[in-house]
Subunit: 418 residues, 2 copies
């Protein structure tokens, strides 16, 4: 067993090459330990400036002329993310709408490109919105939804996905990093197998982007979507991104034919004739303030680079697993994530039969984790601002409130919004 001391945690922080990035964020919480950066990333100092400037100088001062900055902002942020964070080429990534709307657009486009195939493959470990959207889309188009069983702790098996693939599959929609367990799917292998049967693949990168490398170009991924408010620190409800491989852009046609996809948009011509570029996947007027938040966050992620961020994420989650082994296993917790760090994103999850009551007690002890039904504590360890000392301190508080029964005074019943 490793040397579980505060001094050891401090030593790890002292050796952390990304330690300086913490200063780039507004952190004035006192004793609070934030372990939910995988739901909402912290506020970059640069975002305060960018958004404040955009409000006062651009909206307030430039008024309608601000569009000279705003018209390309979504592509600008996409290009910031493309190379250093997502392994995509310039012009392959753009901000647009929400992840859910983007899933609908890209899945719709993919299904229209495979009109003779009748099956959409999803997996049961996928995020609920992905499942709802594909259920509805399949029903609307008279297609069959084929759901791959998954291990909710260990993640998606490539073999299980492969077994669901045949020449009748139009589209495969999967999460790269599972939202509950943090398990990483084998994106290159699954993409290759899907291509072997002629299917298109749409990856949900919500829990990947800014946490783990995403080999879009290396694996020749067709389509992807993701959000910018988690590890990319873009702000609450910041616009999502979408990726379409460059050769697919001119041939795919998405269903929501809005004017921001139109060729020579301001000619106000009568017939829909979309741009042959990533712009055809845009729809309506973009959320400018949210885009500036996303820009500030994306720049930090791009500057840090995904390889160092990934290395630190693995080190942090591994440290959490060490503390679990040392302190928590004997208190009724079990690991709900892969033990192999290379198979995890930047969050790690634990089961406990009293997870919800413990979660409330832990919050009152100054730690913000995430709860996931029915019995999971999900710990997001955002690499850009989380310290090893934070993990030590948070887990120290967790073992105390669990061991001394503090959690017993909290209700077992959950309120609706968690």
């Amino acid at each position: 067993m490793s040397d579980v001391t505060k001094a050891d945690a401090d030593a790890r922080d002292a050796a952390d090459p990304l330690a300086g990035y913490r200063e780039r964020f507004v952190i004035d919480d006192g004793d609070l330990i934030y372990l939910d950066g995988n739901s909402l990333g912290r506020l970059p100092r640069a975002a305060v400036d960018e958004i404040g400037r955009a409000v006062r100088e651009e909206w307030g001062g430039e008024l309608i002329r601000g569009w000279r900055h705003w018209i390309d902002l979504g592509r600008q942020v996409g290009d910031v993310l493309a190379g250093p964070v997502l392994d995509a080429a310039p012009g392959e990534v753009v901000l647009s709408d929400s992840t859910s709307v983007n899933l609908y657009k890209l899945a719709g486009a993919a299904l229209s490109a495979r009109p003779d195939r009748r099956v959409v493959v999803v997996d049961e470990d996928n995020f609920p919105t992905d499942q709802y959207l594909m259920q509805a889309l399949a029903a609307e188009r008279g297609l069959t939804l084929r759901t791959v069983a998954a291990d909710l702790d260990e993640g998606l098996s490539t073999d299980a996905v492969t077994a669901a693939l045949d020449e009748d599959v139009a589209l495969v929609v999967l999460s790269h990093v599972a939202y509950r367990s943090g398990a990483v799917a084998d994106l290159p292998a699954i993409t290759r197998r899907a291509h072997e049967v002629g299917a298109l693949v749409l990856w949900d990168l919500c829990h990947s982007a800014g946490a783990v490398p995403v080999p879009l170009r290396a694996a020749s991924v067709d389509l992807a979507v993701g959000c910018t408010y988690k590890y990319l620190n873009g702000g609450p409800g910041a616009p999502a991104f979408l990726y379409v491989r460059s050769d697919l852009q001119p041939v795919l046609r998405q269903p929501i034919a809005g004017w921001f996809g139109q060729r020579d948009q301001f000619a106000m011509a009568g017939g829909y004739d979309p741009e042959p570029t990533i712009d055809r996947f845009l729809v309506g007027t973009p959320p400018v303030l949210g885009q500036y938040g996303a820009l500030a966050g994306a720049r930090i992620a791009a500057e840090a680079g995904i390889e160092p961020v990934h290395a630190k994420g693995m080190a942090l989650t591994s440290y959490a697993v060490e503390l679990y082994d040392a302190w928590l296993a004997e208190l009724g917790f079990t690991l709900a994530s892969p033990r192999d760090a290379t198979r995890r994103g930047a969050h790690v999850t634990f089961h406990h039969p009293e997870a919800w009551r413990i979660c409330q007690a832990w919050q009152d002890a100054g730690v913000l984790p995430d709860f996931r039904t029915p019995d999971r504590l999900r710990i997001g360890l955002a690499p850009l601002y989380t310290r090893f000392a934070d993990v030590y301190e948070a887990f120290d508080r967790l073992r105390r409130i669990t061991a001394d029964g503090t959690w017993r005074s909290y209700p077992a019943e959950r309120s609706r919004v968690t």
Copy 2:
């Protein structure tokens, strides 16, 4: 002819009951006269505070706990607008996505509710995104698009719409106030005629909301969408709103089945089972910062009330028409809007064969109007902050640069983004 003097304009301002609202906006442009509030409304002082507070205190300080404020924000803004601005009931209006995405959702829901009907009616005066979306949606569902001819200056004829209606019409999609001319369609009469043949009606309120009364409840309108960044001063790309009459909410089903529409959303259940309320028309994570901008703008509009705003809008556009009669008609301009003030929104439009070159010269003379192809100058007279003296001064500059040929030094060729 009226007494066209600056003193007369000042007298009108002195008598304006809404004059005090100008102070609610950040206006430090010096000599600039802003006549494009129908494309992007000005910045409310309260928006600077709301957005700044949301960034620093909620995102930066409350972090994920900010959702206790954010989860209902879209409905909160909808309820602010519902009564005083839109004549809707609480729970019938919500912020969501962009106008274009909302058009797609509501039109999709309406078409699914009329599965045996084969025709969608639009009009040629409708905004391009409405036309593109309906073209694509009709094509996707194998329906016929029936386009009603319109007079692009005088607006939509109720008789022309009526002539396009029969028992095969599923949905009628029209703009209440035309984006070019500002002509107001007869919403109650058209809605009634559509209902007589059993069709649903979806009104685009982008140029109406915050400019003219919208008798949604009085006319028993089925569906409506609109944006918040024009007369509602919500900020660039602020989220759009959608309206669904309460009795239709539980029975309509929109195509983009995202998790924000799901009953008990955070239970993360596997099957899509939407809320029976306006929430089922939501899709993904809402753009929080944009919503706060929309909240600040909506509150001002609600406080002022739509009747005084409408009265001032008519007075301002009528004053512009007076100045046109006195100064511009003899310089080659012609009116491109209805002459009857009750048939106009809060913008008024003029033709001129050299409109584009004049537009550029006018901008350099410190006025921001809008140009619309091929030969229109569109003048937005946002009632909450535009003064009669602004109209006088702007038109005085316009007649000078037109009369003295200043415009001849500007290029006739347009750049792509106007």
